[in-house]
Symmetry: C2
Subunit: 410 residues, 2 copies
């Protein structure tokens, strides 16, 4: 069964069967949308629930880590006591008690001078920051490879992407400076300095300081995306770049998707107030405000339970799974791997090819889903021997069995 | 107490006090965002909770209509039984059972050939449709006055707005045709044909057919926004324009904000599949997907309770409030009013001035909040003697007392 077959079988048409009848007018789509494709990973996600498929493709946290029981009790209580508030419209900035709680948690990792706003998941924080600070045709620099959700969001606003070389210590300052010197209209550097997606590497403190200094000198905004910072399995990561920023150069995006639940769609942005004000205006036009009931639910969870203890539990769940996958790779897989110190992904590189795409296709035929590294490249024409494996979602048995199958293919 | 004072007092700074320090870098905001102001109504919304203020300003449904008890029971059950699913990432198109249920409900008002997608409130449906079909500098036609949330969303994408004249039967076809003939790069007509916000008027069936025909002839998309269609207090409104559309000219946006809860942020778009596909790609980059837990909650509510009976109850709550406000206006208010057949708003016009702004300011000084009609105009330089009063949120006493105060001011 090929990927195309699988997708054709399962993309839900939902009641009304779409037809492109002969009499339908022709549509002129906007310039950025005319050629943009759906994220290969979001599409793959539709496959991962099929029987017999072992998926290392998604970026889903493990349901094991969801505080379902606690949220259930809180949800019942909140709706019994405050339905008139939580079911009503809220203000765009976010539910004030949740903003306070987020600001309190951020005290150690962002500057006191920054303001917070609640967004509908970290993705919206990235997208709004780009919209507020970049015009079509502007350039955003990013790690190569990088998070496909961010890259596609930038593309959907006709923003040019230039990938910057990275090594085991993160972005290479010389490569960044070369791009800052030579590229036109650079407005922003997008980076995931901690347990980077997809490579899993973490930028050293020294690099963080250098990268920030470069952005400041070239008057380029540094967008620090930190969805995985709490999920470290060996040592705690270095200080966030935002905590080093005394000039409002950094926009910081955080998320509850990996520490409470992605299904609630809750993230936050911390930045200088004048940026936050613009983000709020842009957000008004996008979704008025983030769903209020999930915001209240998260706030009650943060204040009624020991969130730090919960995060520690998540770490121990994922540490075990990471170790399991690393062992399986060492045992079965003839590929070079980067052992991630945190996050949800392991990056591998094939040894005898430049392009992991055929490997990805053959794996899918054996019902093992992974992500070919090419989709993470800012340059859509480029290829890479890299591939990404997720260890948070599969069961122990699936990790063992799936990596063994991948090993057989190499 | 002036509006400015009130706003300064209550805009929540949330823990971290924003400062624009001397050492902060200067920001270059994107062209559309550099000058865009927050919606005057969203800002006013921050005032409406203050003690002693009677607010006719918001567009909030009455909490009386929220099925809080039912949703509370469902929420507890859903999280007890399916936390692993509802707290996880979902697909961008929306929770499949909710899409099915929406498609089923839409069968009578959209074409069979159309496809549905769940969005984070009707606002997102409007914004995504614009992003997918319009480039910066393109023109969108709309009623004048129109829904400020949509207008600001269009502005935030550098879309030009041209207002079309309306009368008691909706958009005047001759005015629309003149604009279609003369304006450059017209890509879309945005209309709320049923219980229009802010004027409350409903387009006749004859006009709907003519307007659709014109859009088809000029190859212009018709974006039909229908948040209030279920909330009729006299006769049911005419068929939706979408139901008359056999060429995929109409994009239809609906919402559960006024019939279940705005705090859940749930809306939907029904359109030709090729448009929906683009909307899904754009939505991936904006918020990945609409919060899943609220989607599951809404689906369970639709399938476990009698939703039509609930809507009938909403109608009876609002019919009474509408009648109360109309009576109070006739008794106290020396202004011309349009009696709305549905929706949440009553439009008034001052008799002896061109501009309702001074009236709005004087009313606020007497602690009665309304919306000066100028904010609804596509032309930001224009003025109007019109103003909008909301009757769904204020209590019976507030309606009586507030309209009396307004009457004293005239």
């Amino acid at each position: 069964m090929t990927l195309a077959n699988i997708l054709i079988d399962i993309i839900p048409h939902c009641g009304i069967i779409p037809q492109k009848g002969d009499n339908v007018v022709s549509y002129n789509f906007s310039a950025p949308m005319a050629n943009l494709k759906p994220s290969a990973i979001r599409e793959l996600f539709k496959v991962t629930g099929l029987p017999g498929v072992i998926s290392f493709a998604a970026g889903n946290p493990s349901p094991e880590t969801f505080p379902g029981k606690e949220l259930g009790e809180l949800a019942a209580r909140i709706l019994a006591e405050r339905a008139d508030i939580v079911l009503q419209y809220g203000i765009t900035e976010g539910y004030a008690p949740l903003r306070e709680a987020v600001a309190e948690r951020l005290r150690n990792i962002v500057r006191e001078t920054d303001m917070t706003v609640i967004v509908s998941g970290g993705q919206q924080g990235i997208e709004l920051t780009a919209r507020v600070l970049c015009d079509p045709g502007d350039t955003v620099l990013c790690e190569s490879p990088s998070f496909i959700g961010a890259l596609n969001s930038f593309r959907s606003h006709s923003i040019n992407l230039i990938g910057i070389e990275t090594d085991s210590a993160g972005i290479i300052p010389e490569s960044l400076e070369n791009a800052l010197k030579s590229a036109a209209n650079v407005r922003m550097l997008y980076t995931i300095p901690t347990f980077q997606n997809p490579k899993g590497v973490t930028m050293t403190l020294e690099r963080r300081k250098k990268i920030l200094e470069l952005c400041k000198n070239y008057n380029v905004i540094l967008l620090e995306d930190n969805p995985y910072g709490d999920l470290y399995y060996d040592n705690a990561p270095p200080d966030t770049i935002k905590s080093l920023d005394d000039t409002g150069t950094v926009v910081y995006v955080g998320s509850f998707s990996k520490t409470i639940s992605p299904g609630l769609r809750l993230g936050y942005v911390a930045a200088n107030a004048s940026i936050v004000e613009k983000i709020v205006v842009a957000k008004q036009g996008e979704d008025v405000h983030t769903a209020l009931f999930p915001q209240v639910l998260a706030h009650e969870y943060l204040t009624n339970y020991d969130f730090d203890a919960h995060i520690a539990e998540c770490r121990s769940v994922y540490r075990r799974k990471r170790d399991l996958m690393v062992s399986a790779c060492e045992k079965y897989l003839g590929a070079d791997i980067i052992v991630p110190g945190g996050g949800l992904f392991l990056w591998g590189s094939l040894r005898d090819t430049d392009d992991s795409m055929p490997f990805y296709r053959r794996a899918l035929e054996r019902k093992v889903a992974l992500v070919a590294g090419g989709v993470f490249l800012p340059d859509t024409e480029a290829v890479t021997p890299g591939f990404r494996l997720n260890f948070s979602m599969p069961s122990d048995e699936q990790i063992e069995k799936g990596i063994k199958i991948l090993g057989e293919l190499l």
